[in-house]
């Protein structure tokens, strides 16, 4: 599904955020992306979302080779992905519904489809009754769930989560984790960047461990997974 072949990324400062990174994720896999702060987790996700271009190496998603990608194809690529951030990146000038509907408007969906899908996504994150609210009136956890609803509403094949539980308390982290698992069970590949020890311990999914821009593990979690997820990482 997603593969990196000797990918390096240097920012304009000349500093390498990622160096010679190679791995493969299978379709419908659930993978943690861990590593200390500054290890390059966000950079890796940004590369997948084509928000950054690798300095060298090749990235493939499905049968798309990023080196062959034309700029005008990038939006279409991003539409196949859902992205969730620590800072949920909601727009506070519009309702919860309109936030969730935005990817569908961008995707050019019909109105009836937009209504059903957005409400269904809100339903799944348990916020259907808040559709008309301003996101600013929602709690941090609720806002994060709106962000997740928005990320999955257009039925992406890949869900990229960059520390979505970052500044939420443990209960809410659990809840969000369970949501992501639900989507994973319905066939979405999830790549979940986090350094939440509790989550990493409770859910024994394969881990990609970054240290100083390099992958340091062989892609196996230390103990068997508690969940029934497939072994999905191969170095």
């Amino acid at each position: 599904m997603i593969s990196f072949e000797h990918v390096s990324l240097a920012y304009q400062t000349g500093r390498f955020a990622l160096e010679d990174v190679s791995f493969q994720l299978k379709p419908a896999s659930f993978t943690f992306l861990t590593g200390h702060s500054g290890a390059g987790k966000s950079s890796l996700l940004r590369l997948i979302a084509r928000l950054e271009k690798p300095t060298s190496g090749e990235i493939r998603v499905g049968d798309i080779a990023y080196s062959q990608l034309k700029p005008r194809q990038e939006p279409g690529l991003r539409r196949q992905m859902g992205i969730v951030f620590q800072d949920n990146q909601l727009l506070y000038d519009r309702s919860v519904f309109d936030n969730v509907a935005l990817p569908l408007i961008i995707g050019g969906f019909r109105f009836s489809e937009i209504k059903t899908r957005a409400m269904a996504a809100l339903e799944r994150v348990g916020l259907a009754d808040r559709y008309a609210d301003d996101p600013i009136n929602l709690s941090g956890g609720e806002q994060q769930r709106v962000g997740i609803a928005r990320a999955v509403v257009a039925k992406p094949r890949i869900l990229l989560a960059d520390e979505p539980t970052g500044n939420l308390d443990a209960d809410i982290s659990e809840e969000i984790m369970r949501l992501l698992l639900q989507f994973n069970n319905s066939g979405v590949s999830v790549l979940f960047a986090t350094h939440d020890r509790e989550l990493l311990q409770n859910y024994r999914f394969p881990q990609l461990v970054l240290d100083g821009g390099r992958i340091t593990n062989l892609g196996r979690s230390p103990a068997p997974a508690r969940q029934t997820a497939h072994e999905s990482v191969s170095p």
Binding site: S42, R46, A49, L51, R72, P75, G76, L77, R78, R79, Q80, M81, I83, F85, Q86, D87, Q89, L90, L91, D93, S95, F97, D98, A101, L102, P103, L104, I105, I106, G107, G108, F111, I114, K115, T116, M119, Y131, A132, R150, A154, D162
Partner: protein
């Protein structure tokens, strides 16, 4: 699922979304928007007034030429009968609208009326005045003033060349003076209008740049969600067009009001010169053209502002 209350279906199409966003932003900052529209309106009002007036100004010259006549004095040996025939014959020419024959007796009567030289004339015994034909040139009002003057002078020269003609009298000098004064006026006002149009374009461009900054976050988030360039730019372009449309309407209204102030004194002045010239009121077509032109400038301003790449289109985290 029960029916939900989320506003119009149209607002969820790509185009509808863009327009809704534009209108919302303008309404959201209604004071700033109003000021911008007034700035645009006053900026474009002067060029608009000038444009409304320019048709009338060309007319002024044409009419002045049209009201001018050529007096053709015939040789003394031409009889009144021959002169009357000549007048009739000339009337048939394409370059001539009308002719009036003034017989020798009429000429004398006119002369006596206008002067106190009765005694001197009586002393001469015979009538010393020739027959005359007053020629009114045919004027094509669509021709530029310069060209008209040249043509009328050409006609005068042609008449002068006829053997029966003694002398041709025509006074177009003042028309030429008027013409060059108006030309100067035109150039000055055109330059002014050009500068003001540029100012308007810059105002729109700057407003759009601010708009881009304000929408930065929305643009970033939309990019993350897979928005294409055209999706990102559409609301901006609509905002430019909207500023142009509303600013143009303000300009057209201001210009019409200003124009109606100018009309009364201008007509009075024309009347003092016994001219039939009157400023014509702006037509609905002209009014709409002003709005259309400013809307186009709004679009142009927005498109030009979008040319510069926006730094950091995508959040970095």
């Amino acid at each position: 699922m029960t029916d939900i209350d989320i506003g119009s279906r149209w607002g969820y199409t790509k185009r509808g979304y863009a327009i809704t966003q534009s209108v919302r932003q303008l309404r959201h900052r209604s004071t700033a928007t109003l000021i911008t529209l007034l700035v645009l309106g006053t900026t474009f009002a002067l060029p608009a007034v000038f444009w409304f007036g320019s048709a009338s100004i060309s007319q002024l010259v044409n009419r002045s030429v049209g009201e001018e006549s050529i007096t053709v004095y015939l040789n003394l040996d031409v009889t009144d009968l021959e002169a009357a025939r000549l007048a009739e014959q000339w009337q048939g020419e394409a370059r001539i609208r009308a002719t009036t024959h003034i017989s020798r007796a009429e000429a004398l009567a006119l002369f006596q009326e206008q002067t106190d030289l009765d005694d001197a004339l009586a002393a001469l015994g015979a009538n010393p005045l020739p027959s005359a034909v007053v020629v009114y040139p045919a004027i094509d009002p669509n021709l530029p003033g310069n060209e008209l003057v040249t043509r009328v002078e050409g006609l005068a020269a042609a008449l002068q060349a006829q053997p029966v003609v003694d002398r041709v009298q025509i006074d177009l000098d003042w028309v030429r003076k008027l013409q060059s004064a108006l030309n100067l006026f035109r150039v000055v006002v055109s330059l002014l209008a050009g500068f003001l149009t540029l100012t308007g374009l810059l105002v729109i461009g700057n407003t759009i740049r601010l708009e881009l900054l304000r929408r930065q976050r929305e643009r970033e988030v939309s990019t993350l969600l897979g928005a294409s360039r055209s999706f990102l730019n559409r609301p901006i372009i609509y905002t430019g067009a909207l500023y142009g449309l509303l600013g143009g309407a303000v300009a057209a209204v201001l210009a019409t009001v200003a124009y109606s102030f100018i009309k009364a004194p201008a007509d009075e002045l024309a009347m003092l010169y016994a001219s039939t010239f009157r400023l014509s009121l702006p037509t609905a077509g002209q009014f709409l053209t002003i709005i259309a032109v400013v809307t186009a400038l709004g679009l142009l301003g927005a498109i030009l502002s979008l040319f510069r790449p926006i730094q950091g289109q995508v959040p970095n985290r």
